[in-house]
């Protein structure tokens, strides 16, 4: 997030898009609720009638993939009506003209025709967001910065990024923020809500194929060499590695022969599970390090038992870049060990097996010692140490030991200097509904479960609340195949099929079905594809897969009749 979580409740307008905030980030949604109760406007742009829409001033409901029209049309209106913050644009940004040109033809009328959303609603959304207009009450920013404009905050999540044009959509949201000058101030910004407890930290510390800790590109020679030197090696690989989806393709192609999987379950979470399973089965060696034997672990040759987050120390970095300390609550069961101790032992032994005698540090006495080393490698963590994290933790960038951390980014100046506008094109999802697969499947989460369900499905209460998977179907689509609420239904895509229970209602519009990916009995990712990834982020298009529904009961009756 560019901004801090606690700033949200003071926002004048909040735009939520592609985030089921109430279910995926419940505690953060409390900030939104509090802002709305104080009079803020809430715009929700989402194909589903998610919980947050009950609190929304406006719910714009495009079909999956059509939202690009709405964002572009909003930008068009903001420019046309003179609601753009021209002073901000002139002083702080560049390449505005190219962007302006790109939205010239996407009038609200064009967007309305494409999405079915009335022009007036698009115009209203543009106005509320750009000017930060409240529904009632007084802005706490009314006098503060001498501007009439309220503060607007964009919250987004995987509904924006899990798309074949995800990067472009994020650029588009950044364009909107710059257009209204809604960035670099409290309660504004472009705020991605990160899904897992330490997904932010895993990225920050180099758990990505293209960057070293602190987002230093692997091909940036001076930076890479500096890290290599700190680690006591001559150099490090300079070529960008493979992303998780590319890895399974490389396994199938025989280029990857062994996998080390720590606390992940790609069989459930990666697109086209059938292919992922084949890929993993083709390997010479798989080691899985986890707290449970999950679906991926079943294909592993060696299983290493790990401690859970309640059984270890160290740090997590949350979605607002805040690095916070963990404290062990319990002792790990049996012989399970914290992951860092396992990696450390394995790395040491691996060096020996490779017959190397290098001076690379693999053994540490504590997680604090590891963080101290990481701080010397990742400049954004430069001032972070466990000692300093007592209390409220620190928000990076925190480059030096006396730096107080950074509550919100881009204040006064963008990290890159001038904020860059990106021209945008209308790009639609790779799979478009046709006669054979007329519906769009969108995947996501439910409140009571988490990812591949290995944890939550072993929690008595959570499992009681939602014990099995279900697909959300609009009554129109259900009626077409004689499907009843609670009835069994087959969801079929070009990759495969899953069978689950139908939950019929208007949470999804006609033509759209929703299935969460927590259920191994109905694994949503059997259906999804990895054919067209986002060209830059390499994210699969989980939010738009075309499918058809079949009513197994109906087929049986037909067959019975034929007999």
């Amino acid at each position: 997030m560019t901004n801090a979580i606690h700033e949200i409740q003071d926002a004048d307008c909040i735009l939520i898009t592609g985030s089921n905030t109430g279910e995926s980030h419940p505690v953060l949604s409390y900030e939104v609720i509090r802002a709305v109760k104080k009079g803020a406007s809430l715009i929700v742009i989402d194909p589903r009638k998610i919980g947050m829409t009950e609190h929304a001033t406006l719910h714009l409901q495009p079909k999956p993939g059509q939202d690009i029209y709405l964002f572009m049309a909003m930008a068009h209106v903001i420019i046309r009506e003179g609601w753009a913050d021209m002073a901000f644009i002139e002083e702080r940004t560049e390449e505005f003209e190219a962007f302006q040109q790109s939205v010239l033809e996407i009038t609200p009328e064009v967007a309305a025709l494409a999405t079915g959303i009335p022009v007036a609603q698009i115009e209203k959304a543009a106005r509320l967001y750009a000017l930060g207009e409240r529904q009632n009450g007084v802005s706490i920013y009314a006098n503060g910065d001498g501007q009439a404009r309220g503060h607007s905050s964009i919250l987004y999540a995987m509904g924006i990024t899990q798309r074949s044009n995800g990067t472009e959509l994020v650029h588009m949201l950044a364009n909107l923020a710059m257009l209204g000058g809604q960035i670099g101030k409290p309660s504004t910004g472009v705020n991605p809500l990160r899904g897992q407890s330490n997904v932010q930290g895993a990225c920050d510390l180099g758990g990505l194929p293209d960057v070293l800790p602190g987002y230093q590109k692997v091909f940036d020679e001076p930076k890479r060499k500096a890290v290599a030197q700190k680690w006591g090696v001559d150099d490090l690989p300079a070529e960008v590695g493979l992303t998780v989806v590319e890895m399974s393709k490389a396994m199938s192609a025989g280029r990857i022969h062994a996998m080390y999987v720590m606390g992940e379950n790609p069989l459930m979470s990666d697109p086209d599970s059938t292919h992922v399973e084949k890929a993993f089965r083709s390997l010479d060696f798989v080691v899985a390090q986890d707290i449970f034997l999950n679906e991926t672990g079943l294909l592993a040759h060696v299983i290493l038992p790990a401690a859970s987050s309640l059984e270890k120390d160290g740090t997590f970095t949350n979605t607002e870049r805040r690095v916070q300390l963990l404290n062990p609550i319990l002792t790990p069961p049996g012989e399970a060990k914290p992951d860092w101790e396992i990696i450390s032992a394995l790395a040491e032994k691996f060096e020996e097996k490779m017959g190397r005698h290098r001076n690379v540090k693999w053994t540490y006495t504590s997680t604090a010692e590891i963080m101290d080393e990481a701080a010397t490698v990742a400049p954004i963590y430069g001032g972070i140490s466990h000692r300093r994290l007592q209390g409220d933790g620190l928000q990076w960038p925190c480059p030096t030991p006396d730096h107080p951390g950074t509550q919100y980014l881009h204040a006064g100046k963008f990290s890159r200097g001038l904020g860059k506008f990106f021209p945008i094109e209308v790009n639609l999802p790779y799979e478009q509904p046709d006669e054979e697969y007329p519906l769009i499947l969108t995947t996501g989460r439910v409140l009571y479960h988490y990812h591949s369900g290995t944890m939550t499905r072993r929690s008595e209460g959570l499992d009681w609340r939602v014990p099995r998977g279900y697909v959300e179907v609009n009554p129109t689509d259900a009626e077409a195949i004689g499907l009843l609420d609670g009835g069994q239904v087959k969801i079929i895509s070009r990759r495969g099929e899953v069978r689950t229970q139908a939950r019929i209602g208007d949470r999804v519009p006609p033509g759209v079905v929703f299935l969460s990916f927590h259920w191994k009995e109905a694994p949503a990712n059997i259906l999804t594809h990895d054919i067209k990834l986002d060209p830059i982020a390499k994210i699969p298009e989980y939010k738009a897969t075309t499918v058809r529904l079949e009513n197994p009961k109906l087929k049986r009756t037909k067959k019975a009749k034929a007999r």
Partner: protein, 376 residues
């Protein structure tokens, strides 16, 4: 800036602030039961009465906006007598079963009964709402202990936005209820348990706590929740080495006292009997390495059709497991090169572990093919 006097002490406050909030911040303990700093004032418990100079009668301070020059007394004899009467009234329909009550030691009503030395009511005792609900695995509702402070209703509306409960019936029979008294699971309840957290009495209690120990027997430890990326602080109450219940804490950096259902109630997976407790080697590899005499072949049944089977593995020591893994990885690197190994690090492991994992992949194995589920 506004200047006022409370109990003879000069105090500065911001315009719009409430007298109770300002007093509490300055360490002036005005009794209160229905007040919460993150909720709108309701004035229903009347305990925060104060005397403002020039006013005819005492007024509640939770909803009173500070004004310049205000002179306030918080504990005059009259006011203390009124508060004593209020507690006397509260316990006229609240059973003082403190000895067996699970809230004993953390009950606000008990604290005030102690302060005002009330061991039984001087009124006729009559239960107004003897209703008990045990309709979900997360928390129970025992309305004989309810004092109608309405904090549960307000947190559900003002913070969570679920609006699952409200006041129903009227007069003496007034009770907190779901619409038409349906079970919580059929209501809009999201089981976040924030109502349980801020309930001043035993009307709402986590189920996991009932009969499991007294408050003063429990130790408390805080850590960061392991679920989503919000990073809430969770406090665990433990008896010995067992978690009894989890709750938010007022000093939680990101979340204050509030949590969601997963953070508050979803911790029990940690002690699941399914936890992996020893390193394991799959039987085919174990046979290849001479660890077992029985040949074995990995079944070809698709993973989603089968069931996780620990019987496919044999337990080994950590030394063996690490040795086998290091040997296998080194063999692949020697034979096919560094890029023939891929690594998936974890969004659920710590920064330190992620740092070390990618260091191993890059400086040890020698590949940049390290990734995690950031995109999934």
């Amino acid at each position: 800036m506004i200047t006022l006097t409370i109990n003879g002490k000069t105090i500065h406050a911001n315009p719009g602030e409430k007298v109770l909030d300002v007093a509490l911040r300055h360490g002036i303990d005005i009794p209160h039961l229905c007040h919460h700093k993150d909720l709108l004032p309701s004035g229903s418990c009347r305990m925060c009465l104060v005397q403002v100079e020039g006013a005819a009668k005492p007024q509640t301070s939770c909803g009173m906006t500070v004004q310049d020059g205000m002179v306030i007394e918080t504990d005059t004899e009259d006011i203390e007598a009124m508060r004593r009467d209020l507690i006397d009234l509260f316990v006229s329909d609240h059973p003082l079963t403190c000895v067996t009550c699970d809230k004993n030691g953390s009950c606000n009503l008990q604290d005030y009964a102690y302060r005002y030395n009330i061991s039984e009511t001087s009124f006729d005792f009559e239960l107004s709402r003897p209703k008990y609900y045990d309709d979900n695995p997360f928390y129970i509702r025992d309305y004989q202990y309810c004092i109608m402070c309405g904090k549960c209703v307000r947190v559900c509306d003002e913070v969570v936005g679920a609006n699952a409960i409200d006041f129903s019936q009227r007069g003496f029979e007034t009770i907190i209820s779901t619409p038409f008294d349906v079970p919580l699971a059929e209501s809009a309840c999201v089981f976040c348990g924030n109502c349980v957290q801020i309930c001043p009495t035993a009307a709402l209690l986590p189920r996991s706590k009932i009969g499991k120990g007294r408050e003063w027997e429990m130790s408390r430890k805080q850590t960061i929740c392991g679920y989503c990326g919000v990073g809430c602080t969770v406090e665990y109450a433990l008896k010995g080495d067992k978690i009894i219940y989890a709750q938010g804490t007022p000093d939680g950096t990101v979340n204050g006292e509030f949590l969601c259902v997963k953070g508050r109630f979803g911790w029990d997976f940690v002690t699941s009997p399914d936890r992996l407790t020893t390193p394991l080697v799959r039987k085919d590899l174990a046979y290849e390495l001479g660890l077992t005499d029985e040949p074995w072949e990995m079944p070809q049944t698709p993973v989603f059709k089968g069931k996780p089977k620990l019987s496919n593995y044999i337990p080994v020591s950590w030394e063996q497991a690490i040795d086998i893994t290091a040997t296998k990885l080194a063999d692949v690197v020697k034979q096919h090169g560094s890029d023939a190994v891929g690594g998936l690090t974890s969004a659920r492991c710590t920064n330190e572990e992620n740092y070390l994992f990618q260091k191993f992949m890059r400086a040890g194995v020698g590949t940049n093919s390290v990734d995690h589920c950031a995109r999934l």
